[in-house]
């Protein structure tokens, strides 16, 4: 059975407003898939549904043939999810938090020890392991969340702007790890606002705007379709946000007055 994420006619509503509107998408194993979109476009909602954290209002999302609405616990067992903001237990230490995650996930102790030590060392977290999470910087909390999501070596890794706050070394390590993940046939899906990261890392990309996927494909396919040479211009073009020159001029005038 090959790994895949399939979204069919996915709709997610909050009250009367649609956060996701008829999303159809297929992501295969061995791919790093990037989700781009302006703030409020529905990226986080989409990723949370894939991770089994949120329920879809209608339509379906299949993760390895498991329905995220019906088989949520099973989906969560094979998915590693890093939320947009690392909301961890502030009164626990990173060590206690990782012990908690490993215990709930039932990871073999020897494997857990080895992975935790290596991850903490790679992400320079060893010195902060016994400090309360509440006292850590945003970036350090993000490292704890990333390690927590990878400890059980998930089949599918879902990262919501996981590069935010990471220092260059940790960011580089994470990118390498994501590549390694996909090279082992696993599926990586992540959202980012950093176009360079998306260009550098993604095999395929989708751009979400107001809850709809407005374009999807490899970077080359997107370039060909839009006649733009870089992802930033493609993104701004398809989301109708390409009038930046005028906006900047207006702002310059406002600053002078």
């Amino acid at each position: 059975m090959s790994l895949s994420i399939i979204s069919r006619n996915l709709i997610k509503k909050y009250g009367n407003s649609k956060a996701l509107d008829d999303i159809n998408l297929e992501i295969k194993g061995g791919q790093v898939f990037g989700i781009l979109g302006p703030n409020g476009s529905g990226k986080t909602t989409f990723l949370k549904i894939i991770a089994g954290v949120l329920e879809a209002t209608s339509g379906e999302v299949l993760v390895n043939d498991l329905d995220t609405n019906k088989d949520r616990e099973l989906v969560k067992e094979i998915v590693g999810y890093v939320p947009e903001t690392p909301t961890l237990y502030e009164s626990l230490t990173p060590r206690e938090f990782l012990n908690f995650v490993a215990s709930v996930r039932g990871i073999n102790e020897a494997k857990f020890k080895e992975r935790a030590e290596k991850f903490c060392s790679a992400f320079s977290l060893t010195d902060n392991l016994d400090e309360p999470i509440g006292s850590l910087s945003f970036g350090t909390k993000q490292k704890v969340a990333v390690i927590g999501a990878m400890l059980h070596d998930p089949e599918i890794l879902v990262l919501d702007e996981a590069m935010n706050g990471l220092d260059p070394k940790s960011s580089k390590i994470l990118k390498t790890l994501l590549r390694d993940f996909s090279s082992r046939g696993k599926c990586v899906i992540f959202s980012t606002h950093i176009m360079e990261v998306a260009e550098d890392l993604c095999d395929r990309l989708a751009i979400l705007y107001k809850g709809k996927i407005i374009t999807e494909g490899t970077l080359e396919e997107l370039k060909r379709a839009s006649n733009d040479t870089n992802l930033e211009d493609i993104f701004l073009g398809v989301t109708g946000q390409d009038q930046i020159g005028n906006i900047v001029e207006t702002l310059k005038e406002a600053m002078k007055s």
Partner: protein, 535 residues
């Protein structure tokens, strides 16, 4: 005070209230729907302020009425009762505890940070003013009803003057005391001192909390103490004893020149002391909060080294115990059921015929402790998840996993609290020593907790990634929760009473039959509900 200081304090107050409300989905939906969300939030805060004032007024009226009515002989002046002591002490306790929660929330939600970067000189009274705008001023509504009653019924017009000033003295002192404790617990110290503090701080916090509430509980339920001490305050001394002397200062129905003179002198002295303390604590807490903006590095002296894997259940319970015991707010709230129920339990036992109380009465006497603990712990253990709720949503956990872990944690805390009580009841008051009572209580607690936990989990919106008091519709939700728990805990005793009454007319007259019936009902219900969830 400049206009800017008022503006910043008001902003801080609204932000603090917003933090409390933000996980209420109905509130958030209404905010999104409203044309001017800022105005909506401000109006909502104002409405909740009126609600709290109303609640305090009703609560205070109920207490005042109890002391006003004197059996068959009509009304008695407040000078003849300990209402002054109870109501003013209550205002002090409410002020101190709500101030502490206010300060903790400013600190934990980092609400000072946005103000600290503004290029303005922050007033040393910004935080205290912000506290007074909502919490402090609302607490005054505890004081007003007895003053109004005293003026209307006994024409003690000076009560208005002395009552309001003394209300102010105690409410502001409550803030000062909380601020000083907060400063003591949060001030930066050298490593050695900090390690020692980490070990002692929770014990100290707990002790202070227990002491304050014990005094209040004792005054409410064992008034003999106040009745004994207060009239024995002789001559002018009575005007200078804080709180205990307030029945003479505030509620004097036959004032003389000397009583007014001494009351005025005493009031002036305490007002000056309270004012100085308030000024000192206000500026100190502002300084501390401003200096804490970028430095929160800390360690837990008890944190365990090494990476370990435990069973899922143990890991969840360990996590629950840690998040409860490491946060003052969570820890103190876990103690509240004791303060609500202990006086009732003690008074039932104390007024019963010592040593002859039968087991069924003993069980029913402890039922209030069970109902309040089961509902309160269930709610508190879920609320203590806070933003961490998202972690439970991410991990492969079922509702039953969460219910079981919260249940075990609650049971551990319930046992820690109830075992000393049972020892006291059995050892000191000589209540009937029957193991079946404890067994029935424990099983009843488990069953009632499962019902209340599952009710609470259903109430949290599926999209919510955080949980707090308002996730369950605030006070209304709590009333429903208590109702649900009371029904689940009370239905079997009621059934048992009916059957026992029927049986007692025929052959059985042994009260232990009653306990056995409850045992059978509870165990059966527990088995059925566990089977349902295990599926």
């Amino acid at each position: 005070m400049k206009k800017l200081d008022f503006f910043l304090s008001r902003r801080l107050m609204i932000e603090q209230r917003y933090q409390a409300l933000k996980s209420n989905q109905t509130f958030l939906r209404n905010v999104q729907k409203s044309k001017n969300s800022g105005k909506y939030v401000e109006k909502f805060v104002l409405r909740s302020y009126y609600g709290i004032c109303f609640f305090f007024t009703i609560f205070s009226l109920l207490i005042s009425a109890e002391y006003l009515i004197n059996g068959t002989s009509g009304f008695r002046p407040f000078t003849d009762s300990q209402i002054g002591f109870v109501i003013f002490l209550y205002a002090l306790v409410v002020s101190a505890s709500s101030s502490f929660f206010f300060l903790s929330s400013l600190n934990s939600e980092r609400l000072i940070e946005p103000l600290a970067i503004l290029p303005v000189k922050i007033s040393p009274y910004m935080i205290s003013l912000s506290w007074f705008m909502f919490t402090g001023s609302a607490t005054f509504f505890i004081i007003f009803p007895p003053i109004v009653i005293s003026v209307l019924f006994f024409h003690t017009y000076l009560s208005i003057f002395f009552g309001i000033i003394w209300g102010g003295i105690l409410i502001f002192t409550g803030f000062s005391l909380s601020s000083l404790i907060f400063i003591f617990l949060n001030a930066k110290r050298k490593t050695a001192v900090r390690k020692m503090r980490n070990g002692l701080s929770n014990a100290l916090k707990l002790l202070a909390f227990v002491a304050v509430f014990s005094v209040f509980d004792l005054s409410l339920y064992f008034p003999q103490f106040v009745d004994y001490v207060s009239p024995n305050l002789y001559g002018t001394v009575r005007y200078f004893v804080p709180i205990l002397g307030l029945r003479y200062i505030v509620f004097e129905s036959n004032p003389t020149f000397y009583s007014i003179l001494f009351s005025s002198i005493s009031t002036c002295i305490y007002a000056v002391i309270a004012l100085l303390l308030f000024m000192f604590s206000s500026s100190s807490i502002t300084k501390l909060m401003m200096s804490n903006v970028n430095s929160t590095k800390n360690t837990f002296s008890g944190a365990k080294k090494g990476f370990r894997v435990k069973s899922k259940g143990t890991a969840l319970v360990e996590k629950d115990i840690r998040i409860v015991t490491r946060k003052m707010q969570n820890l103190t709230l876990m103690l509240l059921p004791l303060f609500f129920t202990l006086p009732t339990v003690f008074s039932i036992y104390a007024t019963g015929t010592v040593g002859t109380l039968n087991p069924s009465s003993a069980y029913l006497g402890l039922l209030s402790l069970l109902i309040i603990s089961a509902s309160f712990y269930s709610m508190q253990l879920i609320i203590s998840e806070g933003d961490g709720l998202e972690n439970l949503r991410i991990l492969p956990l079922t509702d039953w996993d969460i219910i079981k872990s919260k249940l075990k944690t609650g049971l551990i805390i319930f046992s820690i609290f109830s075992i000393p009580i049972i020892i006291i009841l059995v050892g000191i008051i000589r209540a009937p020593d029957d193991f079946l009572i404890e067994i029935d209580l424990a099983i009843g607690y488990i069953f009632a907790s499962i019902i209340s936990l599952s009710w609470l989990l259903r109430k949290i919106p599926k999209d919510a990634m955080t949980v707090n008091f308002y996730s369950f519709n605030g006070s209304l939700g709590i009333i429903f929760l208590f109702g649900v728990t009371a029904i689940s805990a009370g239905i079997f005793p009621i059934l048992a009473i009916l059957i026992y009454t029927f049986l007692s007319y025929s052959i059985f007259r042994d009260p232990y039959v009653f306990l056995m019936l409850i045992f059978i009902f509870n165990v059966t219900a527990l088995y059925l509900i566990s089977m349902k969830y295990e599926k």
